[in-house]
């Protein structure tokens, strides 16, 4: 096959998965509306919601989006994302507490640590598929969990506590929740825009192609393994961004962040919101974090209510909340 023919073939393969251009414009318009709504929400939220709660929401939304990049767009079910989230939380905490780094560097360090972990775990995990892939990622995450349980630097079951928020760039005081809120908002928006760009880039299109029909993509000459590995690393790095930020929001990193239940929770967030949608994970994270927080007053009923909500979602919203809304609007969200 000549080089040109190959290129044409590729473009055809990609274009088949794309909607026609007027629908595309409509879709972009919808996306802009959603972005505007998100922007509006983060600006006015502190007026009527507790800022720490909103910050937590944004961190988990980012985490769920990072996870969704792999599951929803790459078709890779990882059951070990807590390792990146929690590992990064410890990394950011360590950098801020022991080295006294400012928050932007501590979070950058957390992202780097998560990306390196993602590269190492991903390199081995992508050699398998399906349930084996999930089990290998789980095994790696358990290794991280037991390391965190025993290592002296993490504080074991006491967790890493009193993580300071040092001055931003060494200049701006971040110790109050007010200023830090805006930093979290900026981090969240950067994360979301980056994710949006990745999904709509040629790379993202290839990723969806791999999800739909991997052998075909291989036959078209794509280095599928490299794409998968890169997806893994991006997803891990963004999970790290979420985890590192969360550690600074709460001044602590604990075993809960690296426990396998955290990996399970992010799967739930993604499924409830809508797997493979752009904004679904944000909605899913909002639903779950809100339930954890505001149902806590109901005492022992909280888990029963959560269970009931999951059942209803699975039975009636199989595509997730955003998936169903997108279907009504005949668009993609």
């Amino acid at each position: 096959m000549s080089k040109q023919a190959e290129t044409t073939n590729r473009t055809t393969a990609i274009h088949q998965s794309r909607p026609p251009s007027d629908a595309r414009a409509r879709m972009t318009r919808h996306h802009m509306i959603v972005f505007a709504l998100i922007g509006l929400f983060v600006v006015i939220a502190p007026q009527f919601l507790y800022p720490v709660f909103v910050m937590k929401l944004l961190c988990f939304a980012l985490f769920a989006m990072a996870f969704n990049l792999m599951l929803g767009f790459g078709g890779l079910l990882s059951f070990g994302h807590a390792a990146f989230f929690g590992g990064a939380a410890y990394a950011a905490g360590y950098a801020a507490k022991v080295w006294g780094w400012p928050p932007e560097l501590a979070i950058a360090f957390a992202v780097l640590v998560a990306a390196v972990m993602g590269a190492a775990f991903g390199f081995l995990a992508i050699k398998s598929r399906g349930i084996y892939f999930a089990m290998i990622t789980l095994a790696f995450a358990q290794m991280v969990y037991f390391y965190a349980l025993q290592a002296p630097i993490t504080g074991g079951e006491d967790g890493m506590q009193s993580i300071p928020r040092n001055a931003l760039f060494g200049l701006v005081d971040m110790s109050g929740d007010g200023p830090f809120y805006w930093m979290v908002v900026v981090i969240f928006i950067i994360g979301v825009l980056f994710m949006y760009r990745v999904i709509h880039s040629p790379f993202g299109e290839v990723l969806k192609g791999i999800r739909e029909n991997e052998p075909r993509m291989i036959s078209l000459g794509y280095q599928v393994q490299r794409y998968k590995l890169l997806t893994f690393v991006i997803s891990a790095a963004l999970s790290g961004l979420a985890g590192g930020t969360k550690a600074l929001v709460f001044h602590l990193a604990s075993l809960v962040d690296v426990h396998w239940t955290m990996s399970g929770e992010v799967v739930l967030m993604t499924l409830i919101g809508g797997m493979g949608t752009i904004f679904g994970p944000i909605v899913g994270a909002t639903v779950i974090v809100t339930m954890q927080n505001y149902l806590a007053n109901l005492g022992s009923l909280v888990l029963i209510i959560q269970g009931a909500v999951f059942i209803v979602c699975v039975l009636t919203f199989r595509e997730g909340i955003v998936g169903v809304i997108a279907k009504w609007l005949k668009t993609r969200l």
Binding site: Y50, H251, A296, G299
Partner: protein, 401 residues
């Protein structure tokens, strides 16, 4: 309770965020952060909230003419939820005091929030000695027990009973290591010796090889330096291997009344452990326990009783000083002894440790037991000074500047 939360929520909504700060002056608000659905739900959980509720009722529901409100939340064993809710309570609900029954990470997080936002915090369920050492707080009180007291209490008492050769089965993480280290130090100081130590992974399911090693080691005491499911699983397997019947004594480091109920006397009999409270100790404890059981359905654990005692002592402080300022109340609480069914001449040290008598107890055999609640007997009292870490050894910055 639901009504109470509803009312509080309505108040918070109607007064808005800006005015929430003043609410603290109109009522004394106590927040109880407990795990109602996870591993701590039986020994803490709803029973702990009930303990606080009973304390408020017995106090008359108001202090110096101001109503006492109790808020409670199930933090689901998630440190971030605990941290988030505690901050929200303080910032938006004007809570004056937070009492918790939790894992150590959440307890330390809440105590740090208290330090940061100047709120009195009482750790009534957590075991970690970090609360009164590296992480100690001028407004934090550690009320019921800690790992040091449990480990040294048990170690001390058993060696003094003439059993000097110990074998440790230790959970392989910081908590287990510190239990083992504290116990082993006492054992050696009193002339005993540690024959061997084996480490098992956290949440292990098979303890047979550890138990067989312990049995063949010739040790007089087999000590489990672990807690929760690790402890229950290990103890069940030890019972199957007939460790007690073989003439060895089993020492447990962190044992709650609810664990004994769950394991049953057949399995747990002969187990020697240290506790901060046992319901069937004297008339006062029995009187409280009966009242508690009537409403909760089972006898109070040391955490449940500790919640009652701590809330009562706090309210007395508020009444006496006429203030809900944390530093003022904390000072009063430190200066005045605690005398109730839970503690006799208990006092709170400057590092936040509440010093009170601990008890060495032993689980009864099914033949000895006279009813479903009659599960243990107190062998001896352990004076506070003997039980708790001496102030001189504390790494708390408030003590050693």
């Amino acid at each position: 309770m639901k009504l109470l939360t509803g009312v509080t929520a309505t108040i918070a909504l109607s007064t808005g965020i800006a005015m929430a700060q003043d609410v603290s002056g109109d009522a004394v608000k106590i927040g109880a952060m407990v795990d109602m659905t996870g591993v701590y739900s039986a020994n803490g959980g709803m029973g702990a909230v009930l303990g606080a509720e009973m304390a408020i009722e017995d106090f008359g529901g108001e202090v110096n003419g101001k109503p006492i409100e109790l808020l409670s939340a199930n933090y689901q064993n998630r440190v971030d939820v605990a941290s988030n809710l505690a901050r929200e309570w303080v910032d938006q609900e004007g809570v004056d005091m937070i009492i918790e029954s939790t894992d150590s990470a959440a307890a330390i997080a809440i105590q740090n929030i208290g330090k940061e936002k100047d709120i009195l915090t009482v750790a009534a369920g957590s075991a970690s000695t970090a609360l009164t050492n590296n992480e100690c707080s001028p407004t934090g009180i550690h009320y019921v027990y800690d790992t040091f007291a449990l480990a040294t209490g048990t170690g001390n008492a058993i060696v003094k009973n003439g059993l000097t050769d110990w074998f440790f089965i230790t959970a392989d993480y910081a908590f287990g290591h510190s239990l083992e280290e504290n116990t082993a130090t006492v054992v050696k100081e009193l002339g005993g010796n540690v024959i061997n130590t084996v480490r098992h992974p956290f949440k292990a399911t098979d303890y047979s090889s550890f138990i067989l090693q312990a049995q063949s080691s010739g040790a007089q005491v087999v000590a489990f330096a672990n807690a929760g499911t690790d402890f229950s699983t290990a103890l069940k397997q030890a019972s199957e291997f007939g460790v007690v019947q073989g003439g060895q004594t089993i020492a447990g480091m962190l044992v709650f009344l609810t664990d004994i109920y769950a394991l049953g006397l057949d399995v747990a009999q002969g187990l020697t452990y240290t506790t901060g409270f046992y319901w069937d100790y004297n008339d006062e404890t029995r009187a409280f326990a009966e009242r508690f059981k009537e409403r909760h359905g089972s006898m109070p654990t040391m955490i449940h009783a500790g919640f009652y005692s701590a809330v009562t002592h706090y309210l007395k402080g508020v009444e006496a000083t006429g203030s809900d300022d944390p530093a003022t109340v904390r000072a009063w609480m430190g200066e005045n002894p605690i005398n109730d069914f839970f503690a006799k001449d208990g006092y709170i040290r400057e590092d936040g440790r509440m010093m009170h008598t601990m008890y060495l107890a032993q689980v009864k055999s099914p033949e000895e037991s006279e009813g479903e609640d009659d599960v243990a007997k107190v062998l001896r009292e352990i004076p506070a000074e003997e039980a708790y870490m001496p102030l001189a050894k504390s790494t708390c910055s408030l003590v050693n500047g």
